[in-house]
Amino acid sequence: METALTKVKSEEYGGELIQLVSFNLEKEEYGINVLMVREIIRMLNITRVPNTPHYVEGVINLRGKVIPIINLRKKFDLMDSDYDKRTRIMVMEVVGELMGFIVDEVSEVIRISEKEIQPPPPVVSSGIEQECMAGVINQAERLLVLLDLEKMFSADERRLFSNVA
């Protein structure tokens, strides 16, 4: 995944296909490199963890491993909504740690050519922090925001994570 993202940055390096998992949040479509995703599971019982940032929903038991769960809606300051039967937890490996992300719906795995990835527009209307956008994919009918979760958990963020209390 590291390689895929670096390639994204060097534009002239086109032609290679990468696979993305696309998912929805508040009717917008996002994509994430398939190599980062470990598994996609349905909602489970989440145990709240006190004194954490608001977007940390809690922890779950993933077959004997306890992993933190992040609500991407809350993280991106989108409107909170109830979980339904389409709600999924995407378990990903971010900076060496497993983490779950709650999304509205996971739709499909798409293949795109790296050439199709455009740099993110300078201003984004939704609350997504600019830095965790790796790019935008503009296909005929759809617009996909490519996320870089490693950036989302920059050093700063991680410190905040543990000292927020």
Partner: protein, 612 residues
């Protein structure tokens, strides 16, 4: 300088064996001082040091050979009764053993550092000087063996380990190989002995050995030696487990095909009982493999006590009980330092000098009793001395002088609280800082380490008759007994090791003192902490007027946690929360409940620290 040893396996074997021998050696030497006539003991010591020498010369560790060789010579004279063992000789021998340890540690670390050997060797030499001829009579007996061992290493030596040889050649006008000297020495140790002297060795922290000696022995924790029998037992248990699994699969398929639906419940009940039995057995076995006898820590204390007693001019008998008590490796690693501090305190502050003791009508020798025992799911380690005890008034006065507490605070304290003052960082009763004590660090270390282990410290004190420090530690850190509590519909688990008692209290009994909710409990005042507030849980039950208080103790502190209700006791396996959530105050980890949900484990240390 890295060690260029071709046969890594050989080197590993050497290190393992040498470390073991050296550990034993310390012990034996102290015993020898007590009973110098014990020939068996003497021979054992001699053999140990000889083995170390032989092995190191085979592998070409010249510095080791030199030190062990001289030590061996002195021991040999002792063995042949040409010398009588005095504390001074023992001091030097122990110093030499320390030096050997340092050298071995260097080799283990992968770097051979040039160390000052001459200081120690120089101290050994005087004991060889009288009747040197007689001393060498026995030498040929072991010399040939020595030569044989050294021979294979001889030829490749210059290529294999260039650093000591090169250093020697550069420094010495006569390019004589250290190894050659080592061999020549048994024949005429006295004459050759001065030869290494001109070698200008860079003096790098020559006195490092004693300081390091303490914690080093346990550092080697990457491999475990397990009794074959235990391994067999384990295999047996796993076999049982596989059997039970097969039964379970069978049961399930029977159920699905509709055979005997009536008996399913019954069979399933039996199966889960057996499964429960097998897994708990298995758990015990695995835990046992992680266990080490506390002897691992205790065995260095005779040595420490001896040295300290000599330095302090006190006469001390150290009595050790229960060194076979086993506890988890992780715990063993952590208790070494606190125990050293406590023992040091007992000797330095607790015990009086022989004159003072006689004047007080006690026997001349002070006694320190170090004991370990299992007590339920805890291990209890106690350090007890029959010295002068701790004088609370003196403690209070000192703490006031140092500005650690205020007059009002002292006035409000009971004896217990005053004694607890000794754990404050910066507290010391010593007027002058010595190299032994007086910086006010020791007890703080004790407290920090014991807290880390979720342990409890108790002090029993009788002015004039001595004091006793009792450490209560959990047996293991991986699986703990815990008390499950409910806080406004959320389940939390509190390590049972820190729970002292639980009680049901009416909310009317809470009082406020200076913004802090407290509970009067018998003769003490207990600060309270509402877990609901600390953990920011939504309040669900507003109409209740009673609740439960779980009194937890961390090191010497006590605090009451207010919870909604108690759910029961359970053995839980601790799971880490991962690095993102590792520093949460008051949360020590998590565990998975029977229903697959995650319950958080309360960290009493964090809570007590936050409330105090």
């Amino acid at each position: 300088m890295a060690i260029d040893c071709e046969d890594q396996e050989l080197l590993d074997g050497f290190l393992a064996e040498t470390t073991e021998l050296l550990e034993k050696l310390d012990d034996d030497l102290i015993s020898l001082e007590k009973s110098p006539e014990d020939a068996d003991l003497m021979n054992r010591i001699f053999r140990s040091i000889h083995t170390v020498k032989g092995a190191s010369s085979f592998l070409g560790f010249d510095m080791l050979v030199k030190v062990t060789h001289k030590t061996e010579d002195v021991l040999n004279r002792l063995r042949k009764l040409e010398l009588t063992l005095t504390p001074e000789i023992m001091d030097v021998i122990l110093e030499a053993v320390d030096l050997v340890k340092t050298l071995v540690a260097d080799i283990k670390g992968g770097d051979i550092i040039e160390r000052d050997l001459e200081g120690t060797i120089g101290k050994l030499i005087p004991f060889l000087s009288e009747n040197a001829v007689e001393a060498t009579v026995l030498a040929p007996v072991f010399a040939p063996k020595e030569e044989k061992a050294a021979a294979p290493a001889e030829t490749p030596a210059p290529a294999a380990e260039p650093e000591p040889t090169a250093a020697a050649q550069a420094a010495q006008p006569a390019p004589q190989e250290p190894k050659a000297e080592a061999k020549a020495e048994p024949a005429a140790s006295q004459q050759v002995a001065p030869a290494p002297q001109p070698k200008p060795q860079p003096v790098k922290e020559p006195q490092k050995a004693p300081a390091k000696g303490g914690g080093d022995d346990l550092a080697d924790n990457s491999t475990v030696r397990v009794d074959v029998k235990r391994l067999d037992d384990l295999m047996n248990q796993v076999g049982e487990l596989v059997l039970e699994r097969n039964r379970m699969i069978q049961l399930h398929s029977d159920y699905q095909t509709g055979l005997n639906p009536a008996e399913f419940g019954d069979d399933f009940g039996k199966l889960s009982k057996r499964l429960n039995f097998v897994t708990s057995e298995l758990q015990m076995q695995v835990l046992k493999m992680r266990m080490l006898p506390v002897e691992k820590v205790f065995k260095k204390f005779p040595r420490i006590v001896r040295n300290l007693a000599r330095d302090l001019g006190k006469e001390v008998d150290l009595v050790i009980y229960g060194e076979e008590t086993e506890l988890d490796r992780s715990v063993v690693d952590e208790i070494g330092d606190p125990l050293i501090h406590l023992i040091r305190n007992a000797l330095d502050h607790g015990l009086e000098t022989p004159e003072q003791r006689l004047a007080a009508g006690k026997e001349r020798n002070g006694t320190v009793v170090l004991s370990a025992a299992h007590e339920g799911n805890q291990i209890v380690i106690s350090i007890k001395d029959n010295g002068r005890g701790i004088d609370p008034d003196k403690i209070a006065k000192k703490a006031l002088d140092k500005g650690l507490v205020t007059d009002e605070q002292v006035a409000a304290m009971g004896t217990r609280e005053i004694l607890d003052l000794i754990f404050l960082p910066g507290f010391s009763t010593k007027e002058q800082t010595t190299d032994l004590s007086g910086r006010g660090v020791g007890m703080d270390v004790v407290r920090t380490n014991i807290r880390k282990l979720n342990g409890i410290i108790e002090i029993k004190n009788e002015v004039g008759h001595g004091s006793e420090f009792i450490l209560k530690l959990p047996l293991t850190l991986a699986i703990i007994q815990s008390l499950l509590v409910e806080v406004e519909k959320e389940v939390y688990s509190i390590p049972l090791a820190s729970v002292i008692e639980t009680m049901r209290v009416s909310k009317k009994e809470f009082h406020m003192i200076g913004g802090q909710e407290v509970l009067k409990l018998r003769d003490s005042v207990l600060p309270l902490l509402r877990l609901q507030q600390t953990f920011g849980c939504n309040e669900v039950y507003t109409d209740r007027d009673t609740c439960y208080v779980v009194i937890v103790g961390v090191a010497e502190k006590r605090i009451g946690l207010i919870v909604t209700r108690l759910l029961g006791q359970q053995e839980v396996a601790i799971k880490s929360l991962g690095k993102f959530l590792s520093n949460l105050p008051g949360i020590g980890g998590s565990t998975i409940m029977g229903d697959g949900r995650v319950a958080l484990i309360v960290d009493p240390i964090g809570l007590v620290g936050g409330a105090a």
